[in-house]
Symmetry: C2
Subunit: 188 residues, 2 copies
Amino acid sequence: MNIEAQLQQVFDLPPQQVRKISPYFVEEQMAKGMFFLGQGQRADRLSFVASGLFRVFAQTESKEVTQWIGGSGYFITDLSSFLFDQPGRWQIQALTDAKIFSLYKDDYKHFEALIPEWNVLEKRFIAKCFMILEKRVFDFISLSAEERYLHYFEQHKAYFNQVPLQYIASVLGMTPETLSRIRSKVGS
Amino acid sequence: MNIEAQLQQVFDLPPQQVRKISPYFVEEQMAKGMFFLGQGQRADRLSFVASGLFRVFAQTESKEVTQWIGGSGYFITDLSSFLFDQPGRWQIQALTDAKIFSLYKDDYKHFEALIPEWNVLEKRFIAKCFMILEKRVFDFISLSAEERYLHYFEQHKAYFNQVPLQYIASVLGMTPETLSRIRSKVGS
DNA sequence: TTGTATTCTTGATAAATGTCAAGAGCATTG
DNA sequence: CAATGCTCTTGACATTTATCAAGAATACAA
């Protein structure tokens, strides 16, 4: 997915506006296994995934927990760290070779001046992220593990060939063994 | 909690700015049981809870699911409906008599003109809501039911005398029976 | 106050999920 | 190609949670 189409889609912008901001998104290549964001690092960029897959995870006392898997069309960053300059909470690692377009914080700061309605667009963007999480919370309190798996599989079929299932299990809030049994039961 | 102090805290605004917008938040009294937002209604206002408690819930085929309980200091609305003019997804009902301050959509629209930095403030506000949900998702995938209960109890002790436990159970993603057993086990 | 909801608890049992351990399947590397 | 790690699956068993049902406690209304 190219950066201009993606910006146009995410922010619902006309092409001429897109051309104003797209130059600030710089292309980066990430090799499989590389860290987009290491433990405790502050997020200095907001990046759109053009190709490849990333996992967003955190360390607890007892285990590593994958919060989110982001592929083409999604953005990755530690939002609270990026927006509020807090120490990072998430680590982000490339699960495959990947290409991303990164907006660095120094450039990001100038967007308000560059595009008058930038704050409105960004607000809408964050609101959409909020809605995605709201839906996800609702799934946790209203669905069984099997239903959560089926929904996730429906929406992210592409991940299942490329991502270790243990990470997907964590995103769904279950153990790898349980995911494995659900999969053999529903037959996918 | 009065509306000026609340606006100041939520939006991190100096008093003179608060005075510019606070008049647009109109006081409403809600009697216990009344619906702030009924099934399928569009959200036409964003309201801060000054006193009282509300539950935000949705109907599934099989059951009613409480997503959130909002008390003093929180805002209530159906955010996606309010921001994007979509049909409502949530119903919102007063669990006690309550006092709220409502910003109606018609007034809200003028805030950009009234306060130049309004969009920045609103963006930050929504981002904070995002962070709360992000934390909540993480709790679901990383904690046991008992731990989730203990966290929630720690943060919302005040709810437990006023809210039917079945609603809290739903927020925590468990049945009322399980919540009851956890409570008798940990002894609160 | 009394009667009627509703809510909460408790028990018995079933179902779902986690844990631990072993082995099979795959990929990566030398 | 062989050797070494991961990853995934499967089994046995423990733990957690749900379900159904009944009774106790509580709140609400006549």
